[in-house]
């Protein structure tokens, strides 16, 4: 094995450019003759547009164009789409209102795109935007998830009760029967708070049109440039696919928010042709708050039926999911197929029934944000289970153990679609208990109490379905795309290697991990492997990066391509060494005639392939192979987080004093990168539990948390250092044995933190974020209830 191959904590290849200020992010790109776009956004949550007078703006200095939804329509540019069809329980298709890139007739949330000014400088564009006169008829707005269906306001005039779909999953009758047999029923009402993703790089786009070639180039902050190209071509109608190149260069974090195809990049590309110059737009942070797709926003009632021994008999869940004013690219699948199929958690639950109502409101679109549906499911399951343990007077670890799916039960078919292929939940729980020093917890709790602090401990045993996803399976559930991945490996004549992937790195370190993978498989030093991604003209068509899929799906495609390289190399080696192909062994970068010391390095074979003076008949010159990989199953990373908090009863301030995460991600390629992914996910999960909350004013629909001064991002001093452990069951469903690690931290942490806080204060009725005010008020409620008893 190479010292920097699979399993090595290799330092990242991409770091040097990032550390020296030599990265190439979209806003760093400037094209000759470039102009600047500035979007006029709606100041109202809901209004009819009676007219737009752009005369003064058009006459302002430096202005090239002022464009509105009418101009889009006149050019035949279509609306933005949602790529996943959900059917309601009555069989009817979801109700999707129109989603034009610039408003047509109505605006539906604060920040909605009304017009764009293209000018010589950004300041000129901004100044001119102030001169656009929009005649609004302001309408009442609805922003509350819980009230969306009963509100008299209609976000889309022809969609009654603002209801996108009324969806269900599972067996209702069996679940009712399970509840009728129950010894105990645990009930809980949960709000999964709305979050704003806030990748630190704001979204940006540079659109360019070459009139000689009749081609568009779009530089954009995308997690999936090929998907962007496909949508902009096939649905928006900007240009045919072969006339549109999408480049997503270095991208400064995504967390889901850069999957989607947004109005701004659409308009930049379209406007570039209209003004005959490149058009650049970079979001200000306030625009990111207003118009990046938000995450979560569920209101849920859930119930768990248990027998007298604490065994789970059934679960029923009703969720209302806020989808915002328009259906974003994958919004409809997040609270449905990425949510309810995970409600079995790590447990053998005979019957589950879930209903999800998707609703429109006058708020920014809601779509996938790190974890996407699975954090919401884990939060429901793990708060239910912990609550049940408290109500039954059982150790929460013991109640979980009693219900775990056992290692001998795989493949395990849950009642909600998924077939888990491997796992060992007891192992990760045990390791987490060891790392947190569970045995001595009572002593620590007593110590805290002696200092006037309330100590609590909370568990979260999560499972996720990721490695998205088998194409036939997701197609049967309504996906408009397949979710395979592509790879290409090109040996150069001098023996170094270019690796092309259809996935995309925006912080995950693909340039390192994929180089390690190829180095190990082909026996080439990692420094001679260059990973290329993010350009539709360079890489094969790929589906991009989200759902912790890059390694499990994209890495498996790479593995297949490397196998083809080895197979071809074997033919060439056999010819050169005058041996039978069957006698050629390949190991550590060398083709050897079995049982002899005759061998050729893979670099020698690559050279021979490009200088084929002596070459086997019927074999093509060159050494370059492509592969596409469609996964056989989702992958099922799972693990256990345990959080310990101290609460100051006088102030309600929560401090996390001990945080353990043990994960089973299958085989690990680079443990350093994997741990980094876990840390980042945990921070986002803790952020959701304690700090972050997107708030709209219920009357006006104004975003009240529209800056880093109002929206509480986790900062260094809000967080502890984390203890991270691993257990491994190798994934039988892909050739690498890997599962994916990008989302786990964010999926598990909210429940662990909230279980710890509610344990500390002895009050279970507490919603995220557990701000000092909310915790203090919960403590007062608890005291009053105690006094009343």
């Amino acid at each position: 094995m190479l010292s920097d191959g699979i399993g090595a904590p290799l330092r990242r290849k991409e770091d040097r450019r990032f550390l020296t200020g030599k990265g190439h992010y979209t806003d760093d790109i400037n094209r000759p003759g470039q102009t600047y776009a500035y979007f006029l956004r709606s100041p109202h949550a809901h209004a009819r547009i009676r007219g737009i007078d752009k005369t003064a703006a058009e006459a302002a200095p430096g202005v090239l164009a002022v464009l509105t939804g009418e101009d889009l329509a006149a050019d035949g540019i279509g609306g933005l789409i949602c790529g996943w069809m959900i059917h309601s329980k009555d069989g009817s298709p979801m109700k999707a209102g129109p989603h034009p890139a610039l408003a047509q007739g109505k605006v539906r949330y604060v920040g909605d795109h009304v017009a764009v000014v293209i000018a010589e400088t950004l300041n000129q564009a901004k100044d001119a935007a102030e001169l656009i006169e929009v005649d609004y008829e302001v309408l009442p707005a609805v922003v509350s998830t819980a009230e969306a269906r009963t509100s008299p306001v209609r976000v889309h005039d022809d969609i009654p009760a603002n209801t996108v779909f009324e969806w269900e999953l599972g067996n209702k009758a069996e679940t009712e029967a399970a509840f009728s047999r129950a010894h105990h029923v645990t009930r809980i009402d949960l709000v999964n708070n709305r979050l704003i993703p806030n990748a630190i790089e704001p979204r940006a786009a540079v659109g360019e049109y070459d009139s000689g070639m009749d081609t568009f180039t779009l530089y954009t902050t995308s997690q999936n440039p090929h998907v962007a190209r496909l949508v902009l071509s096939a649905f928006v109608g900007l240009a045919p696919e072969h006339k549109l190149r999408v480049i997503a260069p270095d991208v400064g974090g995504g967390f889901g928010s850069k999957i989607f195809i947004y109005a701004e990049e659409t308009v930049c590309a379209w406007a570039a042709k209209k003004v005959g110059r490149p058009v650049k737009w970079t979001a200000e942070r306030s625009e990111a708050f207003l118009a990046d797709a938000h995450g979560r926003d569920h209101v849920t009632h859930a119930e768990l039926a248990l027998d007298q021994d604490g065994r789970i008999l059934g679960m029923r869940v009703h969720t209302t999911a806020n989808l915002g004013a328009y259906l974003s690219t994958f919004s409809s699948c997040v609270p449905t197929y990425l949510y309810a199929p995970l409600l079995s958690g790590q447990y053998a639950i005979p019957a589950i029934y879930a209903e999800v109502d998707g609703v429109y409101t006058n708020t920014a679109p809601v779509d996938a944000y790190r974890g996407a549906g699975r954090p919401e499911a884990t939060y429901v399951v793990e708060r239910l289970v912990e609550t049940a343990a408290r109500e039954l007077g059982m150790d929460p670890a013991e109640l979980r153990r009693r219900n775990f799916i056992r290692p001998d039960q795989y493949p395990y078919q849950t009642p909600v679609i998924m077939t888990y292929d491997c796992g060992n939940y007891e192992a990760s729980l045990s390791e987490a208990l060891r790392l947190v020093d569970y045995e001595n917890y009572p002593r620590r709790k007593a110590e805290s109490e002696a200092r006037g602090r309330l100590r609590g401990i909370g568990f979260s045993c999560y499972i996720e379905a990721c490695g998205l996803a088998p194409s036939a399976a997701v197609g049967s559930l309504g996906a408009g795309v397949g979710l395979w991945e592509s790879a290409k490996i090109r040996f150069n004549p001098t023996g170094n290697v270019l690796v092309y992937t259809g996935s995309h790195s925006h912080g995950q370190g693909h340039e390192t991990t994929f180089a390690q993978l190829i180095a190990s498989q082909l026996g080439v030093p990692t420094e001679q492997v260059e990973v290329i991604h993010g350009d539709t003209e360079k890489t094969p068509f790929g589906m991009g990066t989200y759902g912790s899929r890059s390694l499990a799906v994209g890495g498996s495609a790479l593995y297949k391509a490397a196998e083809k390289i080895i197979a071809k190399g074997r033919k060439i080696a056999a010819h050169l060494m005058e041996a039978a192909e069957a006698d050629i062994e390949f190991k550590d970068g060398k083709f050897t005639v079995a049982g002899t010391d005759r061998s050729k390095t893979i670099q020698e074979i690559a050279f021979a392939a490009y200088v084929p003076h002596n070459f086997p008949a019927g074999v093509e010159p060159g050494l370059e192979e492509s592969a596409f990989y469609d996964p056989l199953n989702f992958t099922f990373p799972a693990g256990c987080q345990i959080c310990e908090v101290e609460v100051d009863p006088d102030t309600g301030v929560v401090e996390i004093v001990n945080f353990v995460a043990v994960d089973d991600f299958g085989k690990i390629i680079n443990p350093m990168i994997v741990e980094g992914q876990v840390h980042g996910g945990i921070a986002q999960g803790i952020g959701q539990a304690l700090l972050e909350n997107c708030v709209y004013d219920p009357e006006s629909g104004q975003l009240l948390t529209g800056s880093f001064m109002d929206y509480s991002m986790p900062r260094a001093h809000d967080l502890p250092s984390f203890k991270v452990g691993m257990t491994i069951t190798e994934n039988p469903s892909n050739p690498l044995g890997v599962k994916g690690c990008g989302e786990a931290g964010a999926i598990a942490a909210p429940a662990a933190v909230m279980n710890a806080v509610t344990d500390a204060i002895g009050v279970n009725d507490l919603q995220m974020p557990a701000s000092p005010e909310r915790v203090w008020q919960a403590l007062q409620r608890g005291r009053m209830a105690q006094a009343a008893e």
Partner: protein, 163 residues
């Protein structure tokens, strides 16, 4: 338009700018030093931190004209001329203190100021100091580790001061 002159990464530069030009715009758009990033519009995120006369400054909150005649160091000026990473940069790499890299230049510049004034910070002091630098990727765990490692490296190599 006023002319501003300053020393940036050891080089004298002089440009005519609109009076409202921010220092970060001057660096990125006039000098092409795109390593300094803009991540917010309220002086919160710290992606734009540079040094002005040796002190860390959010360059989105200072006008270019205010930097007239002063000495500015950006992330591009931290590594040695031969490409050797500054010990803080090296510690970030060694400890995986960066993922997407967008907040990283501001982090490195901010940490350099911290370690110049406090060569042996505690973990708590590091976390408090970084209050003005937001990272969405790392959960700060490895950034804090990197800063403590850099502090140790710099203490062991007094000749290579934080700037």
């Amino acid at each position: 338009m006023p002319t501003v002159s300053m020393t940036v990464n050891g080089k004298a530069v002089s440009r005519e700018v609109e009076p409202r030009t921010l220092l970060v715009q001057f660096l990125r758009e006039h000098l092409g030093l795109t390593g300094t990033h803009v991540g917010c519009d309220t002086s919160q995120c710290g992606a734009c931190v540079v040094h002005v006369d040796g002190r860390s400054v959010k360059s989105c909150t200072m006008l270019a004209v205010q930097a007239d005649g002063r000495v500015v160091t950006t992330i591009e000026g931290m590594a040695a001329a031969d490409g050797t990473l500054h010990p803080i940069q090296a510690a970030f790499r060694e400890n995986h203190g960066l993922q997407c890299g967008f907040c990283t230049p501001g982090m490195v510049m901010s940490v350099a100021d911290l370690l110049k004034n406090n060569p042996s910070p505690t973990e708590r002091e590091v976390r408090e100091w970084l209050e003005g630098n937001i990272c969405r990727c790392t959960g700060y765990h490895n950034i804090v580790k990197a800063v403590l490692a850099a502090a140790e490296a710099l203490r062991g190599a007094p000749a290579h001061a934080a700037e």
